[in-house]
Symmetry: C2
Subunit: 361 residues, 2 copies
């Protein structure tokens, strides 16, 4: 090798090494993060299961494959109501479920799904994103090593499926009903026996008389579950005006992600949640339209006024009790009440007045 | 240099070059794409302007700086109603505006913002994403080298600001009103003189009697514009139940982007649009609450029944005319009507029945 050649080779080597040093930064950023998500729902569950798939697909595509999210249904992990624990402990990195399922463990998780006689979907998203809701949710979850985000809205839920018509308060006494969250507590105050049972076990529970009645979601999901074959009375809603599911992430895992992947995950979850609200609206409209012809035996009913009034009164009394017993519960209840009061005036002058003005058209 | 050293150096060089070759792929992907967006709104315009900033910030953060979107307001580009042309020609890569502003150029762009007596926001998002709306919008825009996406919903808009009370159809005759889209055509049929004027020029137009009345958005944006000082009668809405703004991208530019950046842009626009719907809801609720104390002279009114009936009849007749004159217009009108019919039944049994059941609470 001549000195010239040696010198050229050295220069080339130096420049190649320099280029490699720069590109090494890029390579380090290109690390693939594999996350495992546990969802409460059975495999291939419509709407709810579409939401985790939608979120994971957006995250993977936007990150050019650097984020890979494996979704395990309850058929795999066998613990539909254990998702919070599995995410909190780090057994899973992420979860998809509903916040009010954890009220037995962490009472204040109750308030981040929906409340009886509470906010509609746009009102509640307003509260989450502009009215202090996200900050209050963080207060409740951060102690448990979990970051919680809205996970998809079902819209206004139907009041549920009943074997027998509800004609008076007496018909609620001793009624065994699957109804989670605060609505279950309201019914308990009126003498019913509320319980929570995960989606995959509902039909069997109804069939075997473990329960007399149940609420699940609404026409977007209920009709294919076959409840109407056993319990043909289908009541309109009062108890879940805007059920928001929940994405959860293990906080340590979240903190360990690079900033761009955190943003990709945040936006994927946020969009998948909004998307589910619209998908639910669409599926409800489609299924409601076909209900009359496909399932002519379903009897759509509304609760009598005295039952509604008693539920509303029990609801108010329970809120006062909860607020009196825990300062953070009070902070959340007061925040929701103040926000709803403002937002409802606008809902009434805008969407409701508009819909009323078109009545009969 | 000994033969051993030379051999080692060669091996090192080969392995470094190999590493560089791999990382070069990563470097190529790390190219920065700078996009210019023209918005119809003035600088720092609230809500609408927040939406372009929100979208650009998400895209930049999720792409780790590979997407940089410069937002030019109308103060910079001076052509608030020229955004479509500038995006179509490639003078700008992206735009943020409203589809119905282009009806004079491309008549079928009219249908992708909102329609009088038409769908509410969740109904219309259902139509866009599940009812064929996006596909119909693509049919209209692709011929013009533009890809169009939902760009943020204002929610139900107020019917506008009037100097004088509208007591009968006679009061509409000769009325010079800023009101864009199909609603303008409806009012023209009833003898009014509709026109479109961009946001930045509205107050002056009202002050100089260029117009007698105007509709802009609703309490989320109207109150800070000061219209009430000149035109204190504020009417409830009929004409824009769910005004959806629009993101546009030059199709050639869109096609030239790598798949991950396309997805980042698509999701950023989709999320920013949903986010605007919620921000508008929030701002409307806040501002409506403070309106009574801050602006006590505003008189909130609804149009008399005979005026509403005449507008509804004119609307129906115009839709028949449009559908008869153009097969694609007919396809869009029929698609919207069929979707709304299904969705409205669900809206009435869910949100509306729920709100009605709480009346007075």
């Amino acid at each position: 090798m001549t000195p010239e050649k040696r010198s050229m080779l050295k220069k080339l080597l130096v420049s190649v090494i320099a280029a490699t040093a720069i590109s090494t930064t890029a390579i380090a950023d290109d690390k693939v993060y594999k996350l495992k998500l546990a969802e409460t729902w059975p495999s291939n569950f419509p709407v709810f299961g579409d939401t985790t798939k939608n979120m994971a697909a957006m995250a993977e595509k936007m990150s050019n494959g650097r984020l890979k999210i494996r979704v395990d249904s309850k058929n795999k992990h066998k613990a539909p109501l254990g998702v919070f624990d599995m995410v909190s402990s780090g057994q899973y990195d992420m979860g998809h479920s509903a916040s009010y399922y954890w009220k037995g463990k962490v009472p204040n998780t109750l308030y981040f799904t929906t409340m009886p006689f509470g906010m509609t979907a746009p009102e509640q998203y307003g509260w989450f994103y502009h009215g202090g809701g996200m900050e209050l949710m963080e207060k409740v979850y951060s102690e448990h090593n979990v970051v919680s985000f809205p996970g998809g809205n079902t819209g206004n839920q139907m009041g549920g499926w009943f074997r027998k018509e509800i004609n008076s308060l007496k018909d609620l006494e001793g009624l065994k009903m699957r109804i989670p969250g605060f609505a279950g507590e309201v019914l308990a105050k009126l003498g019913a026996k509320p319980t929570n049972i995960p989606a995959g076990e509902l039909y069997t529970a109804l069939e075997r008389n473990t329960i007399d009645a149940l609420e699940w979601v609404g026409p977007s999901l209920d009709l294919r579950m076959g409840f109407h074959k056993i319990a043909p009375y289908y009541y309109t809603g009062w108890h879940e005006p805007a059920t928001e599911l929940q994405f959860m992430i293990n906080k340590k895992k979240w903190d360990s992600l690079p900033a761009d992947l955190q943003e990709i995950l945040r936006v994927s979850m946020r969009t998948a949640a909004y998307d589910m609200y619209i998908q639910s609206y669409h599926a409800s409209a489609e299924n409601w339209a076909s209900m009359k012809t496909e399932f002519p035996d379903i009897k759509v009913k509304s609760f009598p006024k005295d039952v509604m009034d008693a539920m509303s009164k029990a609801n108010d009394e329970l809120l006062v009790e909860k607020a009196g017993a825990d300062p953070l519960a009070k902070e959340i209840i007061d925040s929701q009440a103040a926000y709803m009061k403002k937002a409802r005036v606008w809902t009434n002058i805008s969407d409701r007045a508009y819909l009323d003005s078109l009545d009969g058209k």
